[in-house]
Structures are given as C-alpha cells and as structure tokens.
C-alpha cells in the first residue's frame, strides 16, 4: 500500500505512542522515545516489520513513543496506515 496523505494515530498516554505519516519519495523512519536508549532498535524493528508486511516502501514515518509494547506499536501503525491511504 501507499501513503497518499498525512495521517496520525495513537495518543501521548504512557504505554502508548503517536504515529505520524506523510507521503515522501523514500522511506524515512524517525523515532522519539522515552526509552530510546534501550529500545530504539526494537521499536524500529517492529515498525519495519509492519511496513514490510503491508508493502510500504516509501513515506515519512515519525513515531513519538511513551513506552509502548509491540502490540500497541503494531496497532497504532496499522491504524495510521489505514488512515493514510487505505489497504
């Protein structure tokens, strides 16, 4: 699928995250997190996995994380993707 418009999903509560998507010629992933030092690589891996499963190869993906677990990262990114273009 393709990111055709700006979209966001999630909240700033603890254990949650906000995902911001916008169209871009290449894939760019930016991560801000309260636990960035320890967990950035895991958050990035989860994001990349979801994008790969949905065939998303381009777009700007910005994440502000408040200590979300994998299921929440997946759910918020999936919701943002649906809002950004439809599957």
């Amino acid at each position: 699928m393709t990111i055709v418009r700006k979209a966001q999903a999630g909240t700033m509560q603890s254990s949650d995250l906000m995902v911001f998507l916008e169209p871009a010629p290449e894939l760019v992933i930016e991560i801000e997190s309260t636990v960035k030092a320890q967990f950035e690589h895991l958050i990035r891996a989860k994001i990349e996995e979801v994008l790969r499963e949905r065939g998303v190869g381009a777009g700007r993906v910005r994440v502000t994380d408040r200590g979300a677990l994998d299921y929440a990262i997946q759910a918020r990114l999936e919701t943002a993707l649906l809002r950004a273009g439809g599957e």
Binding site: Q13, D16, A72, A75, E78, T79
Partner: protein, 304 residues
C-alpha cells in the same frame, strides 16, 4: 442453558488505553469488559478496535473472562467492531441498548456468521445484553430468552435514569423496580444477573452498601469502573462461614443419598433436593474462588 461461571466483578477497561489493556492479566476481577462504546470517541473507533484486537491476540494466558462491549449494531461501528475483534477470540460481547429481543437476535445471527467464517463451534461467543432504558426494562423478560448465548442480564443504571429523565441517587430507590424486574427475568431464564456500575470510586462505603442491596435482590455480580472496586465487591459476594458450612453438609447429604440410590434426603429435618444442592454448589464455588474452601466437590452428583 446458562453456564455457572463465577461472575461477581466485571470490570470495564477502556478500549483505547494500552496502559489499562495490558494490565488485564493482573486485575483480580472475574471478568473484564473491554469498552469500544462510551469510552471511545467516534474519531477513534477504528484505532481502538485495532488496538484491542492486537492486544487480545497476544493475551494468551487468559486468566479471566474477556467480554467486549461493542457499539450498538444500528450504529455505523457495531458490525466493524465484531469483524475486527472476534478473530482475537473474546469470550463474548456485552451488547448495549438491548431494548428488544430482536436486537439480541440480530447479534446472535451475526455471531453465528462469524463463527462459521472462523471455523468455530456455533455458540462459542456469548452475549451479555445490557438493559439500560425504559424499553429495555419492559422487554427484559423476552430478551433474557432470546438467545442460547445469553450468559446473564446486565442492568445499566446510567443510561436507564437518562431514559427515565430522572437523577440517580446514592440510595438507589429510583432503581428498585427496574432492578427487581431484571433479576426476575434473569432468574426465570436461568441466567446470571449483573448489576450496574457505582460511579463514585472514592466512596467505598457507598459501593459496599449498594452491593449488599443488590446481592439481597438476587444479583450475582456487578459491573465496575475501577480496579479498586474489585475487592469490596468480592467481600460482599463472599459466602459467610455458616453458609459454607451448611452448603458442605448439603453436598455431603446428597452424596450419601446418591449412594443409597435416592434423589431426595433430609438434613436436619429439612428436605434436600436438586435446587437446594444447586445452591449449595454455587456457595462452594464462590467460596473456593475466594480461597475460603480448598476444593469444589465433583458436580456430577448434581445430575445423579
């Protein structure tokens, strides 16, 4: 028809809050009701149902019953709620605004369709209809018998008082007739009766008083808005020592009766028959769930 699972405490968990969802395993309630309805604003319905699905898929050690409160099926969200969440295998659905048997039948049909699609046993998903309007109270007797999936009737006082254009008081006199009717309907249909929430989380004494009143009416459990309410409700629904002692005597007596090949026996001059034994088992199961007795005798003797 109805199962006899213990449901004293049914805790609402907002569907769009990861911090609450991921504590579900830790809460010591008998059941949770993950809320996609009132706790989720319209613009976040899609996000909440996806979050709940992903959470439930990973929640493998199911140590309590999991119900999902969907949006009513006549809204544009209700069917999507089912489609998204049922593959993650909740135990059942709390159906808001179950004003008529037809509303429950419509959900029953949908659940059957999803069970067929998912290759599940028909009847796998249970229904807890919410009686929360004047119409609902009037029709709850028919609603209670409208589907084999119904595990109980839940009374919802907040919406009910709104539909009656009255205020809800701490004493709850204005709810007495409606509560009684819901309990009659539930008992007559052989299903459980779940009372409404008590919204003031800080008022522990008020919660205790209200829970004692509804237990006296025949309710078997209560909907809760905060995990801090669980303990009080369990305390009130806990059988008293003399109730437990009597229940154990009844079960012992019926076991002896079975050995002698009879269905009825007298205990202390009073007849012990099937309904008395059934009640005794309910007392012991409740006591066991609260660690008051070590084990529950084999219920096979209930059926001879």
């Amino acid at each position: 028809m109805a199962d006899s699972r213990l449901r004293r405490s049914l805790l609402y968990v907002p569907g769009n809050m990861p911090s609450m969802l991921q504590n579900i395993g830790v809460f010591r309630c008998d059941a949770v009701m993950i809320d996609l309805e009132d706790a989720v604003p319209p613009a976040e319905k899609d996000a909440a149902r996806r979050l709940v699905r992903r959470f439930l898929e990973g929640f493998r050690e199911r140590n309590k019953e999991v119900l999902v409160r969907i949006n009513p099926l006549d809204t544009r969200w209700g069917l999507d709620d089912l489609r998204e969440v049922l593959p993650a295998m909740p135990d059942g659905v709390r159906l808001p605004k179950a004003d008529t048997p037809e509303i429950v039948e419509r959900l029953d049909t949908r659940l059957t369709e999803f069970e067929e699609e998912l290759g599940l046993e028909i009847g796998r998903f249970k229904i807890l209809p919410s009686i929360e309007s004047a119409d609902g109270v009037i029709n709850c007797i028919d609603v209670s018998r409208s589907s084999d999936r119904i595990l109980g009737l839940a009374f919802g006082a907040e919406d009910y008082t709104a539909s009656m254009e009255i205020e809800r008081s701490k004493g709850g006199q204005e709810l007495m007739n409606a509560r009684s009717r819901v309990v009659w309907a539930a008992k007559a249909a052989g299903v459980q009766a779940i009372d409404t929430i008590f919204a003031d989380v800080k008022d522990v004494d008020g919660l205790r008083r209200e829970t004692e009143i509804v237990k006296g009416l025949g309710f078997t459990g209560k909907s809760l808005v905060n995990p801090r309410q669980i303990e009080v409700v369990h305390e009130v629904f806990a059988p008293k020592p003399e109730e437990i002692a009597h229940a154990l005597q009844v079960i012992d007596a019926i076991q002896r009766a079975r050995e002698m090949g009879t269905g009825v026996i007298s205990l202390g001059g009073k007849m012990v028959d099937a309904p008395v034994v059934k009640r005794a088992f309910r007392v012991i199961r409740t006591a066991h769930a609260q660690g008051l007795v070590d084990s529950v005798p084999d219920e096979a003797i209930l059926h001879g």
